[in-house]
Symmetry: C2
Subunit: 361 residues, 2 copies
C-alpha cells in the first residue's frame, strides 16, 4: 500500500493507494471515524463494489444511496436528494459521507457533505483512474448548472481518500486510457523524471500492474498537491493543471458533446500545446515526437476534427480581438516544466491550429 | 459612525454601524469592491430601501432579486433561484452578493454566495435589530429543511457588514423589542457593565436614538465575536450564545409556531435561566428581579403558556431518562457571566418549570 499525506494543517488527510483496499476493514477504520456512513454511489458501481465496501465498514450503521449514472445527474437537484437522504435517516453531525465511484459521484457527494449541517466528514473511494489522480486533491466539490460546468460548489477537504487499484479492472479500457492522459499531464507540466518513468512503465499501467498503478497515482497526487499548495503563494500556478484543456475544449465542442472523453481531448490538446511550445523555440522537434509517441502508445486519439483554424480559435474562446490580447495558455518551457503564458506571437498559435485542425485534403 | 473590525486574518471584515449608511455611497465603496452586485432582498424591504441602496451603489452594474418575505421561503429551492439569477445575469467570480433585509435574507443570500463558483463576495446590509446584532458575526449561512432548521448551509464570512440604524424606524415595534432581548442576552452572558449600560439606556434604544443603537449593536457584535473566537480554544463556549434558547424553544412550541417571535421566547427563557441559576445559589433574588424588570421595561412578554412542567420538560427535549443525565443548559454564575452546565439537581429544573409553565389556577 502506498500512502501519501496531504498537508493542510488541521484539514490534512491521508491518501491510501493499493489493491484490495476497498474491502480492507482496517483501512476503513483508519479512513472513517464515524459510526454512521451514508454511501453515495451509482447504478454502475453499486452492483460491482457496494456489497464488498459495506462489508468492510463492519458494524457501522451504513445507508446506501444509489444515484443514476452520468454527468447529466451532477445537479443541485441530485445534491438535494442526497441531503434529503441524510435528514430522513436522521444522520447527525457525526455522519460520514462516503463517495464510492468516479469524479461525478465524488463532486456530488463532497458538495452534499460540505452543505449538511455546514460540513460533515467526507471520504472518497474513487473507482476511476481519473478520479484517483485528479479528484483526490484540491478540495473542489460541486455540481453543474445549465449555464455552465461546476458553477455551484464548495471547497471541502475529504477526511481520507482510499484508492483501490483493483477497481480499475472493471473500468472500460477507454476510460483507463483517458486517465493515463491525466497521469502524463503531471509528468509534462512538473516532473521530467516522472515522465520518463511513465514512458518506461506504460505497459505496466495499461496492464493494470498494481505496483505501477499505485506509483503513478501517488506521484500524480503528490504533484497536484504541490501545485495547489504553491498556488497560494504564486497565484495562478494552479492553472498549470489545465495543460491541454483550452485546446481540448475546442476538440470536445467541435466533435459534439460526449464524443471525446475529457481525458482524451486533454491528451490531444497536450500535443498541440507541445507543438506550439516548439514553434516558440522552447521544445525540440524530438520533444514533440516524444509526446506524440507516448500518447499514441497509450492508445489515445490524436486526430482533432478537421474544422479549420478559424473555427478552432472561436471554440477556444478567441476571435481576432482576443487574439491580439492573447489568451493565456499552458505551454512547456521544457518537457516536465509547464508555464502559463500569453506571450506568444498570434501567428504561432494559428499555425498550430492549422496543423492540427486543418481541413483534410 | 461606529466601526468594528472582526479579526479573522485574511477573512477579517469591518462592521460599519450608524444612521443613513445604506444611502452613503462612500460607505458602499468601502464595503463593496466588485463592479457587479446582485442585491437579494424581499418584497417588504424592497419598496422601503432598494432604490436608495441602489443609488448608493452608483455606477456599478446592479441586479436586484426580490424574494417573497418569510422564514418559510428559507429553502434550498430559493437558494437555487438566487444561483439561477447569478448565472442568468452572467455574473462572474468577481460579483458581490448583497443581502438587504433581515436574518432570513442574510442566511439565504450568504449561502448562495458561498456556493456560487465555490464562493464569491458577500455583503450584509441587515435591516432588523436581530440581524444587526446576531447575523453580522459568526459566518453561519444556510437554509431550513422540512426535517429541521438550518440543516443545510456553509460557513461563509461577509466582506463587510453595513448596519444602518435608520432602517429600524420601519421595523415593527414588536420586532424591535425582540431584538432588544438579544442585546440584553449579550449583557447577561458576558458583560455586567454592558448590562448596566442597557438598563440606563433602554429608553434611548426603544426611542431609536442613533447613538444608543450604534453602541448597543457594536458592543453586541464585539461580544459575539469574542465568544465565537474563544470557541476555537475553549470548545463549547459558543453555546453561551444560546442563553434562554432551550427554555425559549419550549415556549415557542407550546404556543404554536409563529405565535411568539424567536427573540421574545428567548427573552422569557432568559428569565427562566436566571430563576434556575438563583435556585442553584448562583444569583440573588434581587438579580432575578433585575432581569425581570429589564425585560418588562423592554415590553417583552414573560408569561409562558400554562402547559405544566412535565410537558415543558418534554418540549425541551427531555424526559425522565434524559433528566437523570441532565441536558446542558446555559445558566448564569453571576449577572454578566454565563456558564454552560449540566450540573444541577433535576428538582431545581422541575421547580423552575413549575413556576413559569405552571397551570394557572
Amino acid at each position: 500500500m502506498e500512502r501519501l499525506r496531504i498537508d493542510l494543517g488541521p484539514r490534512g488527510y491521508p491518501i491510501l493507494i493499493g489493491p484490495g483496499l476497498l474491502e480492507a476493514a482496517e483501512v476503513m477504520d483508519e479512513a472513517i471515524a464515524a459510526r454512521d456512513v451514508l454511501v453515495v454511489t451509482n447504478s454502475v458501481v453499486a452492483p460491482l463494489y457496494l456489497e464488498r465496501f459495506t462489508r468492510a465498514l463492519r458494524d457501522r450503521r451504513v445507508a446506501p444511496l444509489i444515484l443514476p449514472d452520468g454527468e447529466r445527474f451532477k445537479t443541485l437537484d441530485t445534491v438535494a436528494g442526497v441531503l434529503d437522504a441524510l435528514v430522513e435517516r436522521r444522520m447527525n453531525r457525526d455522519v460520514c459521507v462516503a463517495a464510492l465511484g468516479g469524479g461525478v459521484i465524488g463532486d456530488l457527494a463532497g458538495f452534499a457533505a460540505a452543505c449538511y449541517q455546514r460540513g460533515v466528514d467526507f471520504v472518497q473511494v474513487p473507482t476511476t483512474l481519473l478520479a484517483q489522480v485528479d479528484s483526490s486533491v484540491g478540495g473542489k466539490t460541486g455540481v453543474n448548472h445549465p449555464g455552465g460546468k461546476n458553477l455551484i460548489g464548495a471547497f471541502h477537504q475529504p477526511r481520507a481518500v482510499v484508492s483501490d487499484t483493483d477497481t480499475l479492472r472493471t473500468l472500460p479500457r477507454r476510460e483507463l486510457r483517458a486517465g493515463v492522459a491525466e497521469v502524463i499531464k503531471y509528468g509534462l507540466v512538473a516532473d521530467p523524471a516522472f515522465l520518463g518513468w511513465i514512458e518506461a512503465n506504460l505497459e505496466g499501467l495499461l496492464g493494470l500492474d498494481a505496483g505501477a498503478l499505485a506509483h503513478a497515482i501517488r506521484r500524480s497526487c503528490e504533484i497536484k498537491a504541490e501545485i495547489v499548495a504553491e498556488d497560494e503563494r504564486e497565484h495562478g500556478r494552479r492553472a498549470l493543471l489545465n495543460l491541454g484543456h483550452t485546446f481540448g475544449h475546442a476538440i470536445e465542442t467541435a466533435a459534439g458533446y460526449g464524443e471525446w472523453l475529457h481525458g482524451e481531448a486533454v491528451g490531444a490538446g497536450m500535443l498541440m500545446a507541445a507543438d506550439l511550445s516548439r514553434r516558440l523555440g522552447w521544445l525540440e522537434d524530438s520533444d514533440v515526437a516524444r509526446v506524440r509517441a507516448l500518447l499514441q502508445r497509450a492508445g489515445l486519439p490524436l486526430a482533432a476534427p478537421p474544422i479549420g483554424a478559424v473555427q478552432a480559435l472561436e471554440l477556444m474562446g478567441m476571435d481576432k480581438k482576443v487574439l491580439a490580447g492573447r489568451i493565456r495558455l499552458v505551454l512547456m518551457r521544457r518537457l516536465g516544466s509547464g508555464v502559463v503564458s500569453g506571450d506568444y506571437p498570434p501567428e504561432a498559435l494559428v499555425e498550430t491550429l492549422r496543423a492540427h485542425f486543418g481541413v483534410t485534403k
